[in-house]
Symmetry: none
DNA sequence: GAACCGATTTAAGGCTCTTGTAAGGTTCTC
DNA sequence: GAGAACCTTACAAGAGCCTTAAATCGGTTC
C-alpha cells in the first residue's frame, strides 16, 4: 500500500557529482525511477516528458535559479518540490517556501535526511485519505472498490468501465456535496470537455445501473437539477 | 475559501517567552485558536481535550523529550506535527522525521518561516476536497448545507433548487450585511438581470418557505425595505 | 486485414419539476 | 389616504434531465 518508492524523482543540480550521489542513494533505497538534469532547460523538458512525481531542485543553476525554474514548472504542473541550497540564507528559504516548495534542505546534508524528507513529502502528497485506503466504500448491499474498479454485490462482481470509474472517483472525492456537470465532464474528458453533457448523462445512467438497487429511482447518486450530481455515502468503511 | 487559519494549533515549549512569541505571531497572522503547553503531560491532556489540528513540539521538555511525546500522541491521534529544536543535531532531525513528523525547524528561526511551514503543512493535510465543508450553517432548528443544496430539519431533507441555492450562497457570502436586490439578481441571472425583481421576490418567498420557521414572519432572511435583503446567521458550525 | 466485441458517443423522443409571469393583496412611508 | 415597495398565489411553458437504441470507435483475435 506504500508505493512511495514507485514514484518518479527528478534531481536538478548543476554539479554532476551531487546528482550522481543523490541518484545512487535513492536507488540504493529502492527508488528505481530517477531522472537527473543539470540546467533549467533540460529540467523543464524532463518535467514535460517524464512527468516526475517529485522534483529536487538546486537553487543555483547555470541558466537561472531554482525559484524561477519552479515558477516555470508551476505553469503546467503542481508536483511537490524540495529545494537544495548551498547557502542557508533565510531569505532563500522563505522565497522557496512562499513559492510553494514543500521543503528546503541546506547543503551539506545527510543523504539519509534527504531521503527521509523526500519520503515524508511523497507520503503526504500522494497518500491522501481519498486516494489511499478509503477508496473502498459501501452503498447498501453493494461494495464499491475504486482501486480495482469493481462493484461487488454478494457473489457477483460488476467491473466498472474507464468512464464510469472516473465519474465515481470524482463523485467520491466530493461525496456529500454537489459536483457540477461541468466539473464531472472535466474530470472525465479533460479541459476540452464542452459538449459532453449528454454523454455524461448516459454514463451516469450506466453507473446507476451498477450501483443503485433501482437505477430509475436513485438513492445514492442523486441528481440536483440545475446544479449537478451528488453521491451519498452514509458511513465510512 | 482557505480555512487554514481556522485550524487549532497547539504549541508545546518549555520556555514561556517562546510560547508567547509564537502564539502572538500566529494570532497576528489570523490564527485564532491557539493553545499552549509547557510539558508533556499538559500537552497530552490538551491533545485529548481540545483536539488541535496541528502541533508544534519542542524537542526539549522538562518531563521528557518531544519524540516520546509524539509517540504518545500517535497512540490516539495522527495530527501533523512540526518539531522545534534548539540543537541542530542531524540525528535529531532524522529521528523526528522518521517518527512521522511533518517538518523540523531549528532554533533560532524566523517567525515568518514557522508560519509559512505551518500553513504549508495544514494545506497539504487538510485540503482534501472532502474535509473542508465551507458552507454548512445552522438557522435555529434547521441546518443549511449549501455544499449539497439541502435544508435539513430533524429527519426531513428539503432540497434547494438552483435559484434558491444561488440566492442563499450570495446571502451567506454577505451574511449579516444587506444585499441589494440588484446584487442578488446579478448573482442569480448574471449581468443581464434587469427585470427580474419580481421573480426574485418569488424565489425569496420560496427560500423562506424552506428555511424559516414561519415563512410569512421571517426571522433569518430579513427584508430591508428600500435596500435589499439580509441573512442573519448567529454562529458558525 | 477482417471479423468481432465491448466501450463510448450520438441522437431523438419523453417526462418532470423548476421557473417566470401576472394578478391581486398587504404593509410601509410620506 | 395614496402611492410605493413588497408579498403571495397559481399556473403554463419549457429547460433540464432521462431513457433507449443505434452508430461509431478502439482494441483483440484468428
Amino acid at each position: 500500500m506504500d508505493h512511495v518508492k514507485d514514484k518518479k524523482v527528478l534531481i536538478v543540480d548543476d554539479e554532476p557529482e551531487i546528482r550522481l550521489m543523490i541518484e545512487r542513494f535513492l536507488r540504493k533505497e529502492g527508488f528505481f525511477r530517477v531522472y537527473t538534469a543539470g540546467d533549467c532547460v533540460s529540467a523543464l523538458a524532463n518535467c514535460r516528458r517524464d512527468k516526475p512525481d517529485i522534483a529536487i531542485l538546486d537553487v543555483m543553476l547555470p541558466d537561472g535559479d531554482g525559484f524561477s525554474l519552479l515558477s516555470s514548472i508551476r505553469q503546467f504542473s503542481d508536483i511537490p518540490v524540495l529545494f537544495l541550497s548551498a547557502c542557508g540564507e533565510d531569505e532563500d528559504r522563505l522565497l522557496g517556501l512562499g513559492l510553494g516548495a514543500d521543503d528546503y534542505i541546506v547543503k551539506p546534508f545527510l543523504p539519509r535526511e534527504l531521503v527521509l524528507r523526500l519520503m515524508a513529502i511523497l507520503r503526504r502528497v500522494y497518500s491522501s485519505p481519498v486516494t489511499d485506503h478509503l477508496t473502498v466504500f459501501r452503498l447498501g448491499e453493494k461494495t464499491i472498490d475504486l482501486d480495482s474498479a469493481i462493484v461487488r454485490n454478494k457473489q457477483e462482481e460488476l467491473p466498472l468501465t474507464a468512464k464510469e470509474h472516473a465519474i465515481l472517483v470524482k463523485l467520491y472525492e466530493n461525496r456529500g456535496r454537489i459536483v457540477t456537470s461541468d466539473a464531472l465532464c472535466q474530470a472525465v474528458w479533460g479541459d476540452d470537455s464542452f459538449g459532453y453533457e449528454n454523454t455524461l448523462m448516459v454514463h451516469i445512467r450506466r453507473v446507476r445501473e451498477k450501483i443503485e438497487p433501482v437505477p430509475s429511482n436513485p438513492v445514492y447518486l442523486h441528481t440536483v437539477r440545475g446544479l449537478g450530481y451528488k453521491l451519498l455515502v452514509t458511513e465510512k468503511q
